[in-house]
C-alpha cells in the first residue's frame, strides 16, 4: 500500500530536485531485490507487488495483487502494494505497460502478464534455493513465502531474494488453473481501505509542499468561448492574492490559500466571448439530433444483416419508437485539480488521474520538457468514472499556471464543484429510433435502429472512425445477441458543441436501456412474457442466456408477488462480462416508485475478488439509479444550467433500494467489473414501471416523465 509516509518520501524529492530512477520505499529498500518489475522482495520477507493503474475505488489495486501473489505463492499477510513510478516507467521503457484504469479492463488486459510475473518470480526463487542446496529445482517447491527442498530444507523468500534476482528469468511459466486458486478468487480485504478509514489516504487534493500557492479557476461558461477581458483592479489589495493568470479560455487567481483565491475570483469581473455557441440550448440540440434521425446524408451503417426493408414490409406487425437519454456529468466527489511544480526544467505533478502516463505526457508537453524530466506522483482518486482518463484538462491547466509563476513555486489548482459540473466531458446525449417487424407468431423478423448522437472518439480523442462508426455510440446494437434475420443499425454522428467523454459504462449506460426497453415493447405487442420472449431469441448456449437464467432464478421470476408489485427484466453484454437485472417495484397513484428489490446478475468469466465485485455491483446500482431518476445536464445560452448537488441531485443512503448480487462466473474468459453492472439496471426498472403502470418510459431522467423515487 502506498502509505502517506511513502508518499511523503516521494514528495521529498522536491527538495533536492528530481531524484529520478530511485526506489522510494520504506526502510529496507536498499536491500530489496527486484525479481520482475512487478515483484520486489525484501530481506524481512516483505513482498512488494507493484500496481501500475489507478485506484479509484474499483478495487483493482488489490485484485491485481491477488493475481500476482497467487502465482508467486507468497504469504499474503506480507504483501505490500505500491504504485509503479511514472518516471521509472519512462526511463525503463514502459516495463509496466498500460497504466490506464479505464474501460473496465485492468484485470482483463493485464491478468496474463501479472500472473506470469508472479510465476516468474516464484521460479527464480525456487531456482535460487535449488542452486544453494545443489538440488534440482524439480525437487523444490514454493509455499506461502518459503521454498522447501529435499530433506526438509527450507528458506524464506527474503533470504533468497538477492540470489533469485541474479537468476535467469524462465522463458515459459505455467499458470495455475483457477480451481487451484488460494488467494485469487477469494474475498480478500482491500489493501487501501485501512488508510482510508483512518483518514490517512492520500488523494490528489492532499498534496502539500513548502511554499505552495493555490489557484482557483473560472473557465468560459460557453464551451469553446474565450476570455474577453479581466478587471484586475477590482481585487487589488485583497489578502493573500498573488497573481491573476489570464489564459485563452480561463482565468485563474493564485493566492496563499485556496479559499482566498476562490473568493477573489468570485469578485473578479471577467467578460467572456461565447461566440455563436452562446445560442445553443437543450432544445436546439434535440432538434439537431432529431434531424439526424431523418437525415439521408452523413449517416453510416454499423451493421447490416439480411434485408430490413423486406423484413419490415413482410411483417405482420411493425413497432416503432424513439428513445432519448441526456447528457450526464461525472461528479466525482473530489473535484478536478492538479498540483504542479516546475523547477530547473523538471516538472512534478500530483493529481488524481485514471491514466498516470497521460498525465505525465501532458505535463511534459505543456511544460515543454522531455518525458524523463517529469514525475507524476501517484495518489488515490476521489472517484474517476471516466472523467480523469481521456481528458487531462486539469493537468494541462495546472502545469500552465505553474509556468506563469516563478520557477520553483508549487501551485495547487483546485476546481470548485460548480466548475466541475459545468466543465465536464459529459456522457453524450442520444436520440435513437427503432423499428421492428414481427411475424405472425410475434417474433421479430426485422430490427432497425438509428442512433443520432455525438462521437466521443471523433471529438475528444480526434481519432478516425472505422467506416465512420463510433463503436461506443452503437454499443449493444451493433453487437446485439438476439437471433433476428434482418438487422440494420445506422449511426448519424451529430456533435453539438458540448464536450463529451467516457462516463462510467459509456455507450452501455444508455443503449441497453433503449434496446431492452424496446424488446419489452415487442414482447408486449406480441402478447408474450418478456422473459420468455428473450429466451426465444437467445441461443441456449449463449452467455447472455446463462446469466439471464441465473438472475431470474435468484429473483424468483414467475412467483407470486404482493399486490401492486411488478417485475421487469433485462440482459446485456458489455466490457467482456454478461449482466442481467430483475427489478421488483410498485408505483403509487402519485407516480412514486418504490423499488422493493433489485437483483443484479453478472458473469465476469473469472471472479478475482467476489466481495469487491459485489461492492461494484452495489455501487453501479446507486450510480445508475441516480442517473435514471434525476440525472440530466441541460443547456441554455450555450451554458450548462446545473451547478452543484443542489440542482444536480445525487442519490442518498435512504433512497438506496435493496440490491442482491448474483455472481455467476462461468470461467474461460476475463470480463470487466467496474462498468458492466450498470447496463441492465435502467431497462429492468423501466420495464417494471411499464408492468406496474402501463406507461412506457422512452426518455430519461424519470423525473421528467413524472416519476419520483420513494
Amino acid at each position: 500500500m502506498t502509505t502517506r509516509r511513502e508518499f511523503l518520501k516521494i514528495s521529498a524529492a522536491v527538495g533536492g530536485g528530481l531524484a529520478v530512477g530511485f526506489e522510494f520505499s520504506e526502510a529496507g529498500a536498499a536491500q530489496a531485490a527486484e525479481l520482475t518489475p512487478w515483484v520486489v522482495v525484501r530481506p524481512d520477507d516483505t513482498v512488494i507487488i507493484r500496481y501500475a493503474r489507478a485506484e479509484m475505488g474499483q478495487g483493482s489495486m488489490t485484485s491485481t495483487a491477488q493475481l500476482v501473489a497467487e502465482e508467486l505463492e507468497c504469504d499474503w499477510s506480507r504483501v505490500k502494494v505500491e504504485y509503479a513510478d511514472t518516471n521509472d516507467q519512462v526511463r525503463r521503457k514502459r516495463p509496466w505497460g498500460d497504466m490506464a484504469a479505464v474501460g473496465s479492463r485492468t484485470i482483463r488486459n493485464s491478468q496474463e502478464y501479472l500472473r506470469q510475473a508472479g510465476a516468474t518470480a516464484r521460479e527464480m526463487l525456487v531456482a535460487a534455493a535449488a542452486q544453494q542446496w545443489k538440488a534440482s529445482p524439480g525437487d523444490c517447491r514454493a509455499e506461502r513465502g518459503v521454498v522447501h527442498g529435499p530433506g526438509g530444507k527450507k528458506l524464506s523468500y527474503g533470504k533468497l531474494a538477492d540470489a533469485a534476482a541474479k537468476m535467469q528469468a524462465p522463458k515459459d511459466v505455467k499458470l495455475k488453473d483457477a480451481k487451484d486458486w488460494k488467494i485469487a478468487g477469494k474475498p480478500i480485504k482491500r489493501v487501501d481501505i485501512p488508510a482510508t478509514v483512518m483518514g490517512r489516504q492520500f488523494y490528489g487534493i492532499d498534496a502539500q509542499l513548502p511554499g505552495m500557492v493555490y489557484a482557483a479557476i473560472a473557465q468560459c461558461p460557453v464551451f469553446g468561448g474565450k476570455v474577453k477581458s479581466v478587471d484586475e483592479s477590482k481585487i487589488k489589495g485583497r489578502r493573500g492574492i498573488i497573481k491573476v493568470v489570464q489564459m485563452d479560455d480561463y482565468v485563474a487567481v493564485v493566492a496563499d490559500n485556496w479559499w482566498r483565491a476562490k473568493e477573489a475570483l468570485k469578485a473578479l469581473p471577467i467578460e467572456w466571448d461565447g461566440g455563436k455557441n452562446g445560442e445553443v440550448s437543450s432544445e436546439s440540440i434535440r432538434q439537431f439530433l432529431k434531424a439526424g434521425l431523418d437525415a439521408q446524408q452523413d449517416v453510416v451503417t454499423a451493421r447490416s444483416d439480411g434485408n430490413v426493408e423486406q423484413g419490415l414490409s413482410g411483417a405482420a406487425k411493425v413497432v416503432e419508437a424513439e428513445y432519448f437519454t441526456p447528457y450526464l456529468a461525472h461528479s466525482t466527489l473530489e473535484p478536478m485539480g492538479c498540483t504542479a511544480l516546475i523547477k530547473d526544467g523538471k516538472v512534478e505533478i500530483w493529481t488524481s488521474t485514471q491514466n498516470a502516463e497521460a498525465s505525465h505526457a501532458t505535463a511534459a508537453a505543456v511544460a515543454g520538457v522531455p518525458l524523463e524530466n517529469v514525475r507524476t506522483h501517484r495518489t488515490q482518486l476521489g472517484g474517476g468514472f471516466g472523467r480523469r482518463g481521456g481528458s487531462q484538462d486539469f493537468v494541462r491547466q495546472g502545469v500552465a499556471i505553474a509556468k506563469q509563476l516563478p520557477d520553483g513555486t508549487p501551485v495547487k489548482l483546485l476546481w470548485t464543484r460548480e466548475e466541475d459540473t459545468q466543465h465536464d466531458f459529459y456522457r453524450p446525449v442520444s436520440l435513437i429510433r427503432m423499428k421492428a417487424g414481427l411475424d405472425a407468431s410475434g417474433m421479430p423478423v426485422a430490427w432497425y435502429s438509428r442512433v443520432s448522437a455525438p462521437s466521443i472518439i471523433a471529438t475528444l480523442l480526434k481519432l478516425p472512425l472505422k467506416e465512420g462508426v463510433d463503436p461506443q455510440a452503437v454499443a449493444a446494437y451493433a453487437d446485439q445477441p438476439y437471433e433476428i434475420p434482418n438487422v440494420r443499425i445506422e449511426y448519424a454522428q451529430r456533435n453539438p458543441h458540448v464536450p463529451v467523454g467516457f462516463w462510467r459504462t459509456v455507450g452501455h449506460s444508455q443503449n441497453p436501456f433503449m434496446r431492452e426497453s424496446f424488446v419489452d415493447e415487442l414482447a408486449h405487442a406480441a402478447g408474450k412474457d418478456p422473459l420468455e420472449y428473450r429466451r426465444a431469441m437467445l441461443k441456449e448456449a449463449s452467455k447472455e442466456r446463462a446469466i439471464l437464467e441465473a438472475t431470474v432464478k435468484a429473483a424468483g421470476w414467475g412467483t407470486a408477488l404482493p399486490a401492486g408489485v411488478h417485475r421487469g427484466v433485462a440482459v446485456t453484454e458489455g466490457y467482456g462480462s454478461y449482466t442481467a437485472a430483475v427489478a421488483e417495484l410498485s408505483v403509487n397513484d402519485k407516480n412514486v416508485v418504490t423499488i422493493h428489490r433489485l437483483v443484479l446478475g453478472i458473469d465476469p468469466g473469472y471472479a478475482v475478488n467476489p466481495d469487491n465485485i459485489e461492492a461494484q455491483m452495489q455501487g453501479s446500482a446507486v450510480f445508475m439509479l441516480t442517473a435514471m431518476f434525476w440525472g440530466e445536464i441541460t443547456l441554455k445560452d450555450g451554458r450548462v444550467q446545473q451547478s452543484n448537488f443542489n440542482d444536480y441531485r445525487m442519490m442518498r443512503l435512504r433512497e438506496m433500494p435493496k440490491v442482491e448480487v448474483v455472481l455467476a462466473p462461468t470461467g474461460g474468459f476475463w470480463g470487466g467489473i467496474g462498468e458492466p453492472g450498470q447496463a441492465s439496471i435502467a431497462p429492468s426498472i423501466c420495464n417494471a414501471i411499464f408492468a406496474a403502470t402501463g406507461k412506457r418510459v422512452r426518455s430519461l431522467p424519470l423525473k421528467n416523465e413524472g416519476f419520483e423515487l420513494a
Partner: protein, 154 residues
C-alpha cells in the same frame, strides 16, 4: 488570532473570521482528512465534529469554532487503534474511492453517540452524506455492526 483545539491539540491561526473551518483546517493547519466536495453543505465530505456535533465545515466559519474542540477523521483513533466505527468500516469493506468516508464515519459516530442502537430509519435520517461510489448498503451494515460490537463491549 483564533484559538481552537484540533484532535486534542491546541491550535491558533490568524485568518479572516469568515474563512470556512474546512479551509482553515486543510490549507492553514494542514489537516487533510477533511475533504472538499461541494462547498454548499450538500455532500458532507467536509464533516467534522465541533464539540461532538457533526458539522459541515465548508459552510461553518472558523470564528464559530473558536474555543471549541474539533475532531476530524484523523482524531478518532485511540492509542493508534481504530475507533469501533472505523473497525466496522474495515470489517465490512465499506469504502470504494473513500473520499467521502471520513465524513460518513464521523456522521455515524455522532449518530451512535445519540442512538447506540439505531434503527434503519434512524440511519436513513442521520446519514445524509453523499457517496458517489454508492457504498450506502455497506454503510448501513457497518453502522449496525458497530452498534452491536459496542454493545458487546459495554
Amino acid at each position: 488570532m483564533i484559538k481552537l483545539t484540533v484532535n486534542g491539540k491546541p491550535r491558533q491561526l490568524d485568518v479572516e473570521p469568515e474563512m470556512p473551518l474546512l479551509w482553515a483546517l486543510r490549507d492553514v493547519l494542514d489537516v487533510k482528512g477533511v475533504k472538499f466536495g461541494c462547498g454548499i453543505a450538500q455532500c458532507g465530505a467536509c464533516t467534522v465534529h465541533v464539540d461532538g456535533e457533526p458539522v459541515r465545515s465548508c459552510s461553518f466559519p472558523v470564528s464559530a469554532a473558536a474555543g471549541k474542540k474539533i475532531v476530524t477523521i484523523e482524531g478518532l483513533a485511540r492509542n493508534g487503534k481504530p475507533h469501533p466505527v472505523q473497525q466496522a468500516w474495515i470489517d465490512n469493506q465499506v469504502p470504494q474511492c473513500g473520499y467521502c468516508q471520513g465524513g460518513q464515519i464521523l456522521a455515524a459516530v455522532a449518530l451512535l453517540r445519540k442512538k447506540p442502537n439505531p434503527t434503519d430509519q434512524d440511519i436513513d435520517e442521520a446519514m445524509t452524506n453523499i457517496c458517489r461510489c454508492g457504498t450506502y448498503a455497506r454503510i448501513r451494515k457497518a453502522i449496525h455492526a458497530a452498534a452491536k460490537s459496542s454493545k458487546a463491549k459495554a
